[in-house]
């Protein structure tokens, strides 16, 4: 598909009609036309990927700011032995100066059949460990937030490129035309890099993520212009009835122009969306018990909304923890990581349980992780950078953990390893590009063939990199 260079036929067929698809097909009445470019009828119509996928939708639980691997999913008891003493090896270079080994203040324990060790921070999540595939050998390019956010979310650290969610909705469309295809949530404000994390860049704007501030519980504030504040629903219906009558008359003498039909349908869609979208975002419709099971936090609420959305066919949901970079514990990692994990651990466990109960778990791909991890050694005091308490960790792009679960993922296993201190990925190193390639594979795409022509070049999420990590696949 070319960008910007839309042929008239494409322009016509691209007009986004969801429920009006049937009418449109009849209207076009030209089988050849449909066969030629079936994908373009509606930019958000469900589309088939390269091969039959295991996962049909994605929930990205983004621990923005960089959670520490040695305090969560990559236990290194040896650090406690060296605690306060320099490591026998030189510290790798990270953003700031670091000092002695820093043993994890958290207890680890084995969970499930697989006996994978998880720290007390994620004791609820760990109950599902046999369905979780822990990747302990992720690595990124630099120890700075800005480029690493972009790398994790768009596959490119600096330049403006479409986000992962935009690629997925471009490739798969969405299953519910009454809701945004790609939703990015963050309670209280936007994560660092703001809308660049869910940008569509050179893909059509319709593939851009819709940002939702989940601090607000009122669904009417979550989707722009979703509520008609000026008349009753029946009055508005009456307006639309006359509008459509006039539009039909206008259309009749203009033969079957698809653009006109598309616009007619879009009003019907919008009218239905007012009810459906409001409903989807309204967690007040859940039982008290369910709400409680997600933990009564902003993060739990986000995950509950995420579940309601994927249940209704939304393709890609991203849940960032809180504004900017909350997991960035340069100081007081014990207090801060405990608080942060406490805000989301129950929610993750409840989300997985709910998806299983609803039969959606096997077709929903869940990614948990930050943009990088943290150093196994302590960060040294710097007046301008931290509070000088010498009880936090610096950024670490050399090695960190993320986990995948759900659609097509072989759970109960650990892939890769960091060195003996948890600093650097040494066994089966997995670059962020490899993670993307693997996730696209689970969604049915050959990441090297999933391209978009722009400015004379075929762009990919993985650029010229990426290798599928086959061990992940069930």
């Amino acid at each position: 598909m070319n960008s910007g260079m839309i042929t008239r036929r494409q322009m016509l067929t691209r007009s986004g009609v969801g429920m009006g698809l049937l009418g449109l097909t009849q209207l076009l009445g030209d089988a050849r036309l449909l066969a030629a470019e079936p994908k373009l009828i509606n930019p958000l119509a469900p589309k088939a990927p390269h091969f039959t996928p295991k996962a049909k939708r994605v929930i990205h639980i983004f621990a923005n700011g960089g959670p520490s691997q040695v305090d969560t999913f990559d236990p290194k008891p040896i650090l406690n032995k060296y605690h306060g003493k320099p490591l026998p090896v030189t510290n790798l270079r990270t953003e700031r100066k670091t000092g002695a080994a820093f043993g994890s203040p958290f207890k680890f324990q084995k969970y499930g059949q697989s006996g994978i060790e998880v720290s007390e921070l994620f004791s609820h999540t760990a109950k599902h460990i046999d369905d979780i595939c822990v990747l302990r050998s992720l690595h990124a390019d630099v120890p700075n937030h800005e480029p690493s956010f972009l790398l994790m979310n768009t596959g490119e650290s600096r330049l403006v490129r479409p986000s992962f969610g935009s690629w997925v909705t471009y490739g798969l469309g969405t299953e519910n035309q009454n809701l945004p295809a790609f939703v990015s949530m963050c309670p209280g404000g936007m994560p660092l890099m703001e809308s660049q994390n869910w940008q569509s860049a050179f893909l059509p704007g319709i593939y851009q993520g819709t940002y939702i501030n989940t601090k607000d519980v009122n669904p009417e504030k979550l989707v722009e212009h979703i509520r008609n504040k000026f008349s009753s629903s029946s009055d508005q219906r009456k307006q639309l009835d006359l509008l459509q009558k006039l539009n039909r008359q206008h259309q009749e003498i203009r033969q079957s122009d698809v653009q006109l039909e598309a616009r007619i349908q879009s009003f019907e869609l919008a009218f239905r969306m007012q009810t459906e979208a409001t409903d989807a975002f309204d967690i007040r419709k859940e039982t008290r018990e369910t709400i409680d099971s997600y933990g009564k936090t902003d993060q739990g609420r986000s995950l509950l909304i995420a579940r309601r959305l994927v249940e209704r066919g939304v393709r890609f949901v991203q849940v960032s923890h809180a504004p900017v970079q909350p997991w960035d514990s340069h100081d007081d990692i014990e207090i801060n990581h405990r608080r942060l994990a406490g805000e989301i651990d129950r929610g993750i466990a409840a989300l997985i349980s709910d998806l299983k109960r609803l039969g959606l778990f096997d077709s929903t791909l869940i990614l948990w992780g930050g943009e990088f991890g943290r150093t196994p050694v302590v960060e040294l005091p710097q007046a301008g950078s931290n509070a000088g308490k010498v009880n936090g960790r610096d950024h670490n792009h050399w090695g960190f953990s993320v986990w995948l679960a759900g659609g097509g993922v072989k759970g109960g296993q650990i892939i890769g390893a960091t060195d003996e201190f948890g600093f650097k990925a040494v066994e089966k190193p997995i670059h962020v590009h490899d993670l993307h390639a693997t996730m696209l594979h689970l969604l049915g795409f050959d990441h090297e063939k999933f391209t978009y022509r722009y400015a004379g070049r075929d762009f990919r999420l993985t650029d010229v990199h990426g290798k599928v990590v086959n061990e992940v696949l069930a």
């Binding site: 008239r8 600096r158 035309q177 660049q196 050179f202 979703i226 509008l243 007046a383 301008g384 400015a455």
Partner: protein
């Protein structure tokens, strides 16, 4: 002949060793024993898909070319051949990386190189050069027209093609539709009912030509067409993400004002391009036209990464002005088009040697009103407050390190940590509550500066018992800074601690500005301590880390306060976002694989070979921007004129002749009518002197433009995509046209003031200025802009997308802005229901209703109620008409 061979087609200058024709046996050896090794072990990373280090081993040309660093084979000398070194796993690049070749395979390679590295070279040279014949790289030639003089040339090209397909132009459209079409097209607004009727009934056969002239003379023409160009120029009012810096471009609006003026004055396109790239270099430039250079400077700032900023500018100039995707050559030669990586860095050099002055030039006549004076005083106060605070902030943070006790402690620490690795020294320092960063600087300093620290280094080795007596001898025996010498001799330190104290006293004094420091000795010490690289003057990034977070926050507030005041105060005078040439010009180097740390050959600044030919000259005038601009508008440049007339055609017809308007390269589509494109391009440059208004007239006066948009059954079948232009394209209003029409219909549009600062379009109370003045926040583009396919300000936009999504309908149904306009429109009507309905139709759709429509409306108002929320039934009817397809489309 300006055509050059494409670099992708590498024509090899044969190395001397291959000059002799290889024997059949040699070639056989290559095919059987060498090529299979490359194929099995190397091409995964050095082949068609990946070219690690720029190397391809799947073609003879690739093998001969070698890596980015140079040749890999020295024929006849395996030991000197990097290829052999690598497979022998000697040197920096052991290959293949995971496992060595078997001895047998390795020996085959050695033998091959030893015997002259024969390959079937001849075959390569005969390869075709696709770029050579590519249509867009051929000179523009004015085609001959074999038709009577009174036939419009555009119609001639279109009609003759249609005739071949057994088709003809669609009938002329009626005058009511025509005035609506022309009006939206040129000024972005509908005609009023009265204008429509008077045009429809005008008996003058030249009424249409006069209408076009009238529309072109309106200042709203400039507003409409400036916006088209703003899509090309990726206009925005903000920089995107730049850490904690203020994100606004306070003067971006002056670039928009320039564009509006340029279109209204019909500035010749050549001159327009020249000014946007190099207004600062033009002797006859008028001060306000300096704002033209916003073209280069309103792009994204990529966290202030200079390489990405330059890349954005190269992309803009390449695709925006010449339809050439030069940006593809940032990391390697362009894979499809004849743009080698060196041409990218030639242009990189132009922008690398240009800078944006800190204080942008004032433009326009400045009236020295009391308000302006007050603004300037206030701004100066705010900026001074920020600057003073910043200075004091760093001075305060660094002051403790310049005190004698700190200096003494640091000096002693350098001895205690001698021989430590940095990490260990850091830890040592932290444990003792010393700043590791500053200690690091001391540790480095005491190792050098012999005439200051030489004595120190000697004396700290001396045992305590001999200390006192050795001071004098050592001090007198070496070359030493006199201020130090005097003080050491006076203070007579008895041990290392006292020595440190003595040093510290002198060095601390040297950091204080008020002391007499006339002697070179004092100056030396001052520079050593607090000079640009001084021990206690760490780089800003480090010093920044010594400042408490709370203090920094105050500074940020002060700095951003000044920046905001500058950008938002009404009396803030306009400035031009210019670039200037660097005082010292340096030639660029190629960054191999796009990596600035991987520097390749040095190259001159000059035009890409594909447009300027192999004989192109290097730029010599400053940065070369002016020469670049001249070369772009050179009538012999095959791309510039074709690209702009194609864009103008697209903005009129909703679709372009070349359907990839910013890519005229090898992968572009052929023009639907190549001769027409060339006729337009050559007439535009040679006959019309790059006049946009003349181009509009030529296009709009053609029958092709005045056709009906109705397709009959034959044309719909034979020309489904309208590539033959067998009818006009029905076009949906874009966001700006739609929004402005709502305001216009409601009698609310503020159309008088032309120019001015950007306004937020989406917050209440709603601004009534035209949408072209809407504030564009690049980082977080407002949702309504996005929902309506507004041009992405990220990069240059070749053509807007057109989607129809329910978010658009939601805005129209529920946004207070649309409701306001419906109410205002309904309020303009009065009288009996029939009269009101007629007036509503006239105001909104520019016509009277049919009987049937009138009856439907009557029925609606009779059966409807005013809503409890204050929307009367008349408001509701007005909204319906404003939401109709008739309102939203131009036939």
């Amino acid at each position: 002949m300006r055509f050059v061979f494409a670099p992708i087609l590498i024509i090899i200058s044969l190395p001397a060793y291959a000059a002799e024709k290889p024997s059949a046996a040699q070639l056989d050896f290559f095919e059987k024993s060498v090529r299979p090794v490359f194929h099995d072990y190397c091409v995964r990373c050095h082949g068609e898909r990946k070219q690690e280090a720029g190397l391809r081993l799947d073609s003879v040309a690739g093998i001969l070319k070698g890596t980015d660093m140079g040749a890999i084979i020295v024929a006849g000398d395996p030991a000197k051949s990097p290829l052999i070194k690598s497979v022998r796993r000697e040197g920096d690049y052991p290959m293949p990386p995971d496992k060595a070749l078997t001895k047998e395979k390795l020996e085959a390679l050695v033998q091959w190189v030893q015997s002259g590295a024969a390959m079937p070279v001849g075959a390569q040279q005969q390869a075709e050069n696709p770029a050579k014949n590519h249509w867009a790289f051929q000179p523009v030639k004015k085609p001959t027209i074999k038709a009577p003089e009174n036939v419009n040339p555009i119609d001639y090209f279109i009609a003759s093609q249609l005739q071949k397909e057994g088709l003809k132009l669609a009938p002329m459209v009626d005058r009511r539709t025509l005035i609506r079409r022309a009006s939206f097209d040129l000024i972005g607004l509908p005609p009023t009912y009265e204008e429509t009727e008077s045009f429809a009934n005008d008996p003058d056969p030249n009424a249409y030509a006069k209408l076009i002239d009238r529309l072109l003379a309106k200042p709203q023409y400039g507003e409409r067409w400036a916006r088209h160009w703003m899509d090309v120029a990726r206009y925005a009012d903000t920089k995107g993400y730049v850490f904690t810096e203020d994100r606004n471009y306070p003067y971006a609006y002056t670039y928009r004002e320039y564009l509006i003026r340029a279109f209204n004055e019909d500035k010749p396109y050549g001159r327009f391009v020249l000014e946007q790239l190099a207004a600062d270099k033009l002797k006859d430039i008028k001060q306000p036209d300096l704002a033209a250079m916003g073209f280069l400077t309103v792009g994204r700032r990529f966290s202030n990464n200079i390489h990405d900023i330059i890349d954005d500018r190269i992309d803009l100039v390449g695709r925006g002005l010449m339809g050439l995707s030069i940006g593809c050559a940032r990391c390697h030669d362009h894979k499809f088009d004849p743009v080698p990586i060196a041409d990218y860095y030639s242009l990189y050099g132009v922008f690398q040697n240009s800078f944006e002055p800190k204080e942008l030039p004032l433009i326009g006549e400045q009236e020295r009103t009391a308000e302006v004076a007050k603004f300037e005083a206030e701004l100066a106060r705010k900026e001074k407050a920020a600057a003073d605070y910043e200075q004091k902030m760093y001075a305060d943070a660094l002051a403790p390190f310049r005190k004698a006790d700190s200096i003494a402690a640091m000096l002693l620490a350098t001895v205690a940590t001698e021989g430590f690795e940095n990490a260990r020294a850091d830890k040592w320092a932290v444990d003792r509550k010393l700043d590791p960063r500053i200690l690091d600087r001391w540790r480095k300093a005491v190792r050098g500066h012999d005439d200051v620290f030489g004595v120190w280094r000697e004396l700290v080795k001396v045992p305590q018992s001999e200390f006192e007596q050795r001071v004098k001898t050592i001090v007198n025996s070496v070359k030493i800074n006199n201020s130090i010498k005097t003080h050491l001799l006076q203070s007579r330190p008895k041990n290392r601690d006292e020595l440190a104290k003595a040093y510290a006293e002198v060095l601390s004094i040297a950091t204080v500005a008020s002391l007499e420091k006339k002697s070179t000795d004092w100056k030396q010490l001052e520079s050593l301590m607090v000079g640009p690289e001084g021990i206690t003057n760490p780089p800003k990034a480090d010093a920044d880390k010594l400042v408490a977070i709370a203090v920094k926050r105050v500074f940020r507030i002060l700095r951003n306060d000044a920046a905001k005041f500058r950008s938002s105060a009404p009396a803030s005078p306009p400035r031009a976002m210019v670039m200037n040439d660097n005082a010292r010009v340096s030639e660029p180097v190629v960054f191999l694989r796009g990596n600035p740390n991987n520097r390749g050959q040095r190259i001159p600044r000059r035009m890409p070979e594909v447009v300027a030919g192999a004989e192109r000259k290097a730029f010599t005038n400053g940065s070369g921007r002016l020469e670049l601009a001249h070369s772009i508008i050179n009538p012999e440049n095959p791309l510039t004129a074709r690209v702009i007339v194609n864009r103008v055609w697209m903005w009129h017809f909703g679709q372009a002749l070349v359907r990839t308007p910013s890519d005229f390269g090898l992968r572009s589509e052929m023009p639907t009518h190549p001769e027409l494109l060339d006729w337009l391009a050559s007439t535009f440059v040679m006959d019309d002197g790059w006049s946009m208004k003349k181009l509009h007239r030529r296009i709009m006066l053609s029958s092709t433009y005045q056709q009906s948009s109705q397709a009959d059954a034959t044309t719909a079948t034979k020309d489904p995509e309208n590539r033959l232009w067998s009818r006009f394209n029905r076009q949906r209003l874009d966001f700006e046209q739609f929004r402005d029409s709502l305001l216009f219909t409601a009698g609310q549009l503020d159309a008088k003031e032309i120019g001015g600062r950007s306004v937020n379009l989406f917050t209440e109370p709603y601004r009534k200025r035209r949408a072209v003045y809407g504030f564009v926040d690049r980082q977080n583009l407002p949702g309504t802009f996005r929902a309506f396919d507004f041009a992405s300000p990220e990069q240059h936009t070749p053509q807007r997308f057109q989607t129809t999504v329910p978010q658009q309908a939601l805005f129209l149904m529920n946004s207070p802005f649309v409701i306001d306009q419906a109410k205002a429109t309904a309020n303009r009507t009065s009288g009996e229901p029939y009269e009101r309905i007629d007036s509503l139709y006239q105001a909104i759709l520019g016509r009277l209703p049919t009987t049937n429509e009138r009856n439907l409306s009557i029925e609606f108002v009779k059966s409807s109620n005013d809503s409890a929320e204050g929307l009367t039934k008349w408001d509701q009817l007005a909204q319906i008409l404003m939401l109709s397809n008739e309102f939203a489309f131009v036939d």
